[in-house]
Symmetry: C2
Subunit: 135 residues, 2 copies
């Protein structure tokens, strides 16, 4: 009897019960049964929820996540997946710029950041990058 009730899942993942019910309703997770009216989850749901959060970090919609890892495997063609991976690669590059920008802003105290040459150069780079690889 190692099945988890909704509050146990909530406690272990930090995801509110209301959200878990919402995911359940949307078909992103699936309870293994009920005790009375109460949902019971297999522990594997924890891995699955980690996957969902990861997908969200990457900017996937819930419906896309459900589509990729739905009840039975992905229906997504390989090319689309490779494209997605490339998109995330670009996103990583942009985040590196933001990270460096924030670090710079935290240190350098020019009167306004928009006047700091280092900062402007970073912005220019980012704009160019965005221009080269579609938005």
């Amino acid at each position: 009897m190692k099945d988890l009730d909704i509050s146990e899942v909530a406690k272990q993942t930090g995801i509110p019960a209301s959200t878990l019910r919402y995911y359940d309703e949307k078909g992103l997770i699936r309870s293994i049964g009920r005790r009375g009216a109460k949902r019971l989850y297999d522990p594997s749901v924890l891995d699955y929820l980690a996957l969902i959060q990861l997908g969200q970090t990457a900017g996937f919609k819930l419906t896309e996540i459900a589509g990729i890892f739905g009840p039975d495997g992905p229906q997504i063609p390989r090319d689309a997946l490779r494209d997605k991976a490339a998109g995330i690669e670009r996103q990583i590059r942009e985040l590196e710029v933001v990270r460096d920008g924030l670090r710079h802003v935290a240190e350098c105290s020019a009167p306004s950041h928009l006047e700091c040459p280092t900062f402007r150069r970073m912005m220019r780079l980012a704009a160019d990058h965005r221009r080269r690889h579609g938005e």
Copy 2:
């Protein structure tokens, strides 16, 4: 007369005019004046819009972006900025996992990805990572 009207800004950035008006209304950008009723923008708005998009990629809300680079510089304490940078650093790590995961899914054709050992290992790593560094 190198000022830009709204459609020029839209064309050069790819951002719809409706969104530019929305940003204007929200105080994220500011027109340098009007010709008749029509907004005119300084070319620097292009850099500024690149910055906004960059901020969005990093998951900042529009109000946060306005707060950091509002009319006059950031009011955000250095520590908060460093924390943000660290958060983005984590986000980058997670995106690397997603990128690798997608690439893997694109190649390996196990019956279901949830059964592929490589994939499960990646998920576990991600979950651990998320557990160590708050959500």
